[in-house]
């Protein structure tokens, strides 16, 4: 299955892009997706643990199971205001 990845702020800089598609096995979790993303962008890997992940615009946990077509957003620590 495929999921649509969104990257923000320094995550974009580290990956050199703000969106991409990842191929994942059926029933892959957020943790599996994070691992695949880290493997694809070594410069991004060390920054990911500080951030949070949202699936289809809701905060998700590592164990959240993904479905084909999900939007998975990787969010660095926030700094609005």
């Amino acid at each position: 299955m495929q999921v649509n990845i969104l990257l923000f702020a320094s995550y974009q800089d580290a990956a050199g892009t703000d969106k991409l598609t990842l191929d994942l096995p059926e029933s892959a979790s957020v943790a599996d997706c994070t691992k695949a993303l880290a493997g694809r962008f070594p410069a991004l890997a060390p920054r990911l643990p500080a951030g949070r992940v949202a699936v289809n615009a809701d905060f998700a946990k590592d164990a959240t199971v993904l479905r084909d077509g999900d939007e998975v957003a990787f969010l660095p620590p926030m700094s609005g205001g």
Partner: protein, 150 residues
Amino acid sequence: MAAIFLSDDPIQSVDELGALLSDPEAGALVTFSGTVRGSTKGRRVTHLEYETYRPLAEKQLALLAEEARARWGVTCAIAHRLGKVAVGELSITIAVASAHRAEAFEACRWLMDSLKTTVPIWKKEHFDGGAQWIEGSDAVPSPPSPTHLS
């Protein structure tokens, strides 16, 4: 009762947000506004840039407003600027209306503190010859030519 605004254009002043909350029984209004400063840690800032993950940011702001209503019985309005923001321009305005002032002060401060850690908005500081993303208490240098294309 909450009014939430995320905009690439100049945002509402606190008077304008306060007017949205007008209620003959809400006698106390506390507001916060943030203006882009000309320097940070001794370095001259040319402008700021804010990025958001809009669908989640809107959801989170509405949740904060709802929690403030439940905890303190207040109504509130929040506006956050996005994109490039010049020195001296407003980046954020919050207005909180209440029957009594203690609740309005507490809720406004809590909204501002919570917003910074739970709403997906990121600030990039631009200097002469450089830029950095602010992420929580970290500053992450950013390449001179932004890779963000959207």
